[in-house]
Amino acid sequence: MTSRATFGDFMRAAGRHLERPAGPAVAVAKRRLPAARAKEIAEASDALLRVVTVMTRYTADIGAAFAEVEAHNRHRLNPWARACAEVHDALGNAAAFLRPEGAGRHESHRVPPDSPLAHRLDAVAESLAAGRDLLHTHFAPGPGAARLDHSDWSPVITSVPVTRALLAEIGSLARRIAPEGTELALSRAPLQRGAGEARRRLNAACQWLWVTDAAVQAGQCYDPVAADARRLLHAVPVNICPPRRLPRAGESVTALANGIIDGAERLRHSSRLPAAHAAWSPAMTSESSRQTATAGMLTSHHCQILLRSLAACAAPPGSADATARLLESADAAGRARADWLAAAHAWDNITTDTRGYISQAASDAHDLALWTGRLAYADPAWTPVSGPSCPVRPSEDLAARPGDIPLVVAAIHHACESLTRLAHGSHDQIQTASQAGRLLVPTRSLPESVDIPRPFGPAPRERTASLLAVHREAGTASAHATGKIGEVAADVGAPSQILAAARAATHPGSEPTARNSATPAPETPDVDRHWPGPVERILRDLGTSDPVLLRRGAAIDRAGEQLIIDAAETVPARHSQRAAHLSRSPDTAGLINRVLASRDPCAVPLLRPPTRPQAAQAEAEP
């Protein structure tokens, strides 16, 4: 859909970094093995702290307020809000175990690690940090710590479905990282004297990563993250305005459709001028407004032509209703065209106090009309001055190559979405300009009885009311057309389906158009390996390969875990041992790890100490 980086690019990169590389481990001389292992643990802990720190920042972005709710009041939160708070706490506890005692960190002098795991975790931290930076391009700093919306994606990113999807991603990554860290921590390889504490702390931090996953799992059990929400999160692009480009003569259907998508994106950027600016901005001119309304009308007109052409295709892809939906969409685009034309007419009798300036939005709207016209008409060099003998592009041309139809539908969908934003933005700006007394009429257009000794006088109230009404109607009609085209996009599998998903996420009452919107998101690649418990491991060490014996051993291990979970639930917190104590030996630590990895929320009390392990410290740079 877009050549810009998306959040999904960074999450996929993080996932790839967690895949274990094939090949043998680096050989180390036996006498140097303890020191090498100690260094590996130190480096992995350091790298894991970077990962956990970025994760904590994500959870702070999602719902710092939830984390401030006292533990004894959290039962009042809904399960996802509780999950957010618990994930934040769990990551804070993990960081506390990983953070070197009492020292500031000097990232600039940090030496790249030798440890393969640390190296991969560093890469994960970088991907996560880049992903968070990408999300932050959609916000501007506001008063205090507040974030102000800076793009149309901002409300999508802060929507309930997408924040849950983000929390689920963090839980998933935590689940993948935890076994890697504990494997290193509990390795039976000899360890340098004094390195045991570092090993225990790394293991304890990984245990909190399992708690992170378990907290998310509790939310998932209550209300699973939908596949659409995860797709939407991954589709969030970096917030940059595509460069201006005008169509060249003879561009292909694919190039034209992509040009429309970029042009529509540009228009969405430029039409986000805050309404308050219309009180003083020199860009608020009648020339800009007339050009905007005219371009909106032309773009709707071209979309109507294109949708009719698509409906005339011999075999439209998708369901049998696709043709009917295309014709309904064409009608909806036709209604939007009529309403935009009414808006253009309304500007015939009104002007503004400043003139002679064309706003960026008006310029981009004009470009979009040119792009859509170039695709709608057969003339490869079509412009508005091409004259009367200009046939529309034959429907066969629009579907010459596989994939053209979904792309053309996506282009129309993006164009109509931008017109909707443009109409709403124009309405708000007109309202502000009207309140600021900036809407005028030529004195000569007023009745003789009105004596104003200046060339322009204030616009009569009924004219401004009419102007506002027609722009409101243009917005409603464009939104309706966008919704109809969203249905077509779902029919033909157009890449613009994400627009409908975004609308559904930010307008919970709106009709989701994607067919699988309610489908729970699939789990991220399942990396949970079978991890033998102590009984099964002993059987394997004995050389047993009998599947019946191994299954019995695994069953005993599971029964033991359940016993521990049941005990953790019943023992009062003040009597419980801290995890650090329970995990003192590698064997008991392995058992506790297995219990935590079961994702059973009832296992979490095993780690919950009578008081929090450490007070929160200043965040270290990842």
Binding site: E287, T294, A369, R444, E448, P455, F456
Partner: protein
Amino acid sequence: MGWATGAKAHLQEAIGLAAVLSGTYEAFEGMLSVIRAHESRAEGMFAAFVMSAASAANGRDAVAGAPSLPRTGGGIQAPAERDLAAAASVKEIARDLAGLGRVLTGRLAAAASSAPHPADRAACAAAARHAGHICVLLSGAGP
């Protein structure tokens, strides 16, 4: 189209800045009415018509900002009912309006270079640009 021919003749005969300004204001206003009356049947010229309408309104507003524009007009009458009816073909209407636009451009450009008041000059120059734009849109050629 009778109205466009009459408006052209009136503009060509206008003498003095006030008469030119008054005539051009009324010509832009009349063009706007004619375009709006015929745009719905413009088909292939639909885009050119609606964009010309915006330019006509812009040109009128530019002239309206000229300090020397008389408060009352009366030189060029508003288009009659027959000018707004679908008697002529769209092509003929476009040709007539483009011709009128050409005259408008010429008179306004001349006024822009000769008007004593800077605000009149600026207003005429801006209006001339909009008139030129109408010529380009409706004839596909410059003024």
